[in-house]
Point group: C2
Chain length 125, copies 2
């Protein structure tokens, strides 16, 4: 798949797809003419990157955790390669993500609580 098509299917500008590649988040192959050639899986990958960026993670963090995010079935690194520092990094990232989730959940609940409170009150009036 060429970059324009990937852009269309994900809604992400080509400029950004090239940027994500520069940041080592994508690694498309190259066709004979130099055009980037993306596999089908790139669509999901880009959506994943977008979601994480929108959630406040930086490209640097994403780059470090993305190898472990694909399919839990296939272990990408031999367990030998999982140094204890890398495991710590993953654990602490999971924790930071959890904190974000907690914060967002709290505030989502408050918004919804407010809405339902007002609706109830209006229903009575």
């Amino acid at each position: 798949m060429k970059i324009g098509q990937l852009s269309q299917r994900t809604g992400v500008p080509t400029r950004m797809l090239r940027y994500y590649e520069e940041q080592d988040l994508l690694h498309p192959g190259r066709a004979g003419n130099g055009y980037r050639d993306y596999p089908e899986s790139a669509v999901y990958r880009v959506q994943q990157i977008r979601g994480l960026l929108d959630s406040g993670l930086t490209t640097e963090i994403i780059r470090r955790i993305i190898p472990f995010l694909d399919k839990p079935e296939e272990i990408h690194l031999h367990p030998d390669c999982l140094t204890s520092e890398l495991a710590d990094l993953l654990r602490s990232e999971a924790e930071r993500i959890q904190q974000r989730i907690d914060c967002l959940s709290r505030n989502r609940d408050r918004i919804l609580a407010y809405l339902s409170a007002v609706e109830t009150r209006q229903g009575q009036a």
Copy 2:
């Protein structure tokens, strides 16, 4: 409470506390000498702002939803003031927040799944 003390208690630089004020997220009073004067509740407020910023929300979004985030018990706006567009804004923000939560949850689960898979395998070896 003066700005330095608020900074110490929240870990947020004074520079940022002034910035949040400029962005209409904080509204401290002023003492006779011109010093900012924060209520006790500002500590929690600042932590809330930090959490939301870290979670990828912009100051503009935060500014718009923060009035509804305090205590669900006290309804801040009369129901009359909740125009339908405002309600729609809140609903759509809640939905966007939910999407972030979903994305983060998925990826947290994958990190944890990877870690436990590797640990299991190492335990066997």
